[in-house]
Amino acid sequence: MKPYILRQKLRHGILFLTLSGITVLMLLPFIWVIITSLKPESQVYVFPPEWVPSPVTLENYQAVWASNMPLYLFNSTIVAVGSIILTLIVSIHAAYAVSRFKFRGMNVFMFLLIASHMIPGVANLVPTYLLASKMNLLDTYIVLILVYSMWQTPLVVWLIQGFLQNVPQSLDKAAMVDGYSRLGAMYRVVVPLSKPGLAAAAIVVFVYAWNEFVIALTLTSSDEMRLAQVGLKYYISQFGIQWGELTAAVVLSTIPVLLLFILLQKWFIYGLTSGAMKG
């Protein structure tokens, strides 16, 4: 073998090993959690820890399934889907206006969006809590959906707007000459064509709503309204932590986002980075 080919092979080998190592390291904490979740109670608390559960048991998952966790997951789903719907409806129209019209006050509107993005989530939490309590909205799906949608709207408007820029305006015009109103043209032609952008936006909103914790913690109080992330927190009590069940709950509550991520990685990355890149 010629030396330069050898050198190249060596380089590739080292690179491959490095990346494999890093990937395993990044996943290791999670792998450890999955392993623990499959262990029987007696095996969870041993030292040195075992990397292979024996016997493999689903008793932790059964326990979680019997608890209120399924309800929390259901609540999270409702709130996430509600947020997606509200955010998309509100954002599509705003994005269409921004991408198709030049109107007085457009810059003010865009500034408003950016300004709202400047507001730190925690900082907004205190007044939001007080206002929600005054309006008797605490502990409802609606308040969570409203707050989540608001936080995602600026980003999603931006994202969809970028997508609409790539839909030629001649298509709207053609539809209007072909006998449709502006809104008709928008719904029949522009919206179907920006499906990928809407999908990316939906994923962004879903992941945000699914993973959000602090807002859900403060704006809900009853067990019936609890979201999955908050539910996880309640596994930590003053009596200690049931690690076996907790790890199973962690795995269960992470599966939806993880599945979505693996299936729709391209749109996922697009959605979550486009806001930052276009600034």
């Binding site: 209007m176 000459v177 109103s181 064509l193």
Partner: protein, 365 residues
């Protein structure tokens, strides 16, 4: 089929006059072309007719009815766009039926009308394809079909051929002409390509800088350009414009610039003087200059550059300080820097005012 009128129409946008005081009448079944460079307001005019834009002032009439403020969808005009504007998420059939669905027609009627149009345009086998699977020429056909299927009052076409490659463009040009003869309908056609305008139109309206420069048959526009801009824009090779001064020695008058001298009659000299003073520009098309190597008649010039184009050769001459381009047969084979004699077809030369570039006279006598 409809008659379209624009009366003193103008559009101001952010303090710019995109179009000003534009009046035009498109006769029933006429093929009228709006010709001009990009940004001259020709597409704007089309959008004003279709209702996609509203004029700042002036009235637009279709069939004698004022349509200002009427939404595009109620104007019953069809439009063909430069990028075809085919709906990418619909197949050909759906694209063609889209305007019919807007009219809430029954499925049976829609199907038969779409099929008719596909027959006319020879694309019956394409109905299931999506725009992304079509060639440029096929897309063009679908775009035309979508306009045809509606039976509109007029067709508005915005540079429909400019995205095609050169050969296809010529073929589609002929097809458009055939189509117009066949369906006999009012067409307002926008292009920046003077060859398209000349070959297709009943009349050509030349626009520049938001203003109508001239309107007339292709022949009128070519032979009697209203001003220097029209002269330069129409005719494939442009026009040689030679700034000249009227000189009078004794009883003789000349148009001259340095050693470039053309004698003119008393009458013409007077006409120039009353309209423009002494300064004029003489416009001579390259095809009206004949290089005559052998004879000793005519004016003498030096050959600077030869451009062999295939069907013909362009000869860049210099007469004193005046550069001239002449069209010569393809087989012309002179050497650079040699002196040749040439003759100008004076009857077709144009004289433009030095003041406002308007046409004063055609033909030097």
């Amino acid at each position: 089929m409809a008659k379209i009128e624009l009366q003193e129409v103008g559009l101001r946008y952010e303090n710019n006059d995109v179009l000003s005081n534009f009046s035009i009448e498109v006769e029933e079944n006429e093929f009228l072309t709006l010709l001009g460079p990009s940004g001259c307001g020709k597409s704007t005019t089309l959008n004003l007719i279709s209702g996609l834009l509203e004029p700042s002032y002036g009235e637009i009439l279709i069939d004698g009815q004022v349509v200002n403020g009427v939404a595009p969808r109620h104007r019953q005009v069809a439009m063909v766009f430069q990028d075809y504007a085919l709906y990418p998420h619909m197949n050909v059939f759906e694209n063609l039926s889209f305007p019919l669905k807007a009219q809430k027609l029954g499925d049976q009627i829609i199907r038969s009308r779409v099929e008719d149009v596909c027959q006319t345009l020879g694309m019956a086998e394409l109905t299931d394809r999506f725009p992304s699977d079509l060639s440029g020429g096929q897309r063009q056909r679908v775009a035309l079909g979508r306009a045809l299927v509606r039976d509109p009052r007029a067709f508005l076409m915005d540079e429909p051929l400019s995205n095609l490659d050169a050969r296809l463009r010529v073929a589609m040009r002929a097809e458009l002409k055939r189509l117009h003869n066949q369906v006999r309908t009012t067409i307002v056609y926008v292009t920046h390509d003077q060859a398209e305008a000349m070959t297709l139109s009943d009349r050509v309206a030349v626009l520049w800088d938001g203003k109508l420069q001239q309107i007339g048959t292709p022949r009128e526009v070519y032979e009697r350009p209203a001003n220097q801009f029209v002269a330069g824009f129409v005719g494939g090779l442009g026009i040689n414009l030679v700034p000249c001064t009227v000189e009078s020695t004794g009883g003789d008058h000349f148009l001259s610039q340095g050693s470039f001298r053309i004698p003119i009659s008393d009458r013409l000299a007077k006409k120039i003087e009353t309209q423009s003073g002494r300064e004029v520009a003489v416009g001579i098309r390259p095809e009206h200059i004949v290089v005559v190597e052998q004879e000793e008649t005519g004016t003498q010039g030096v050959i600077e550059v030869l451009e062999y184009l295939g069907p013909e050769t362009l000869v860049h001459l210099r007469v004193g300080t005046v550069p001239l381009i002449a069209k010569a047969p393809a087989h012309a084979n002179w050497d650079i820097d040699t002196k040749v004699n040439f003759r100008i077809d004076k009857s077709r030369a144009c004289i433009f005012s030095g003041k406002d570039e308007r046409l004063i006279a055609v033909g030097i006598e």
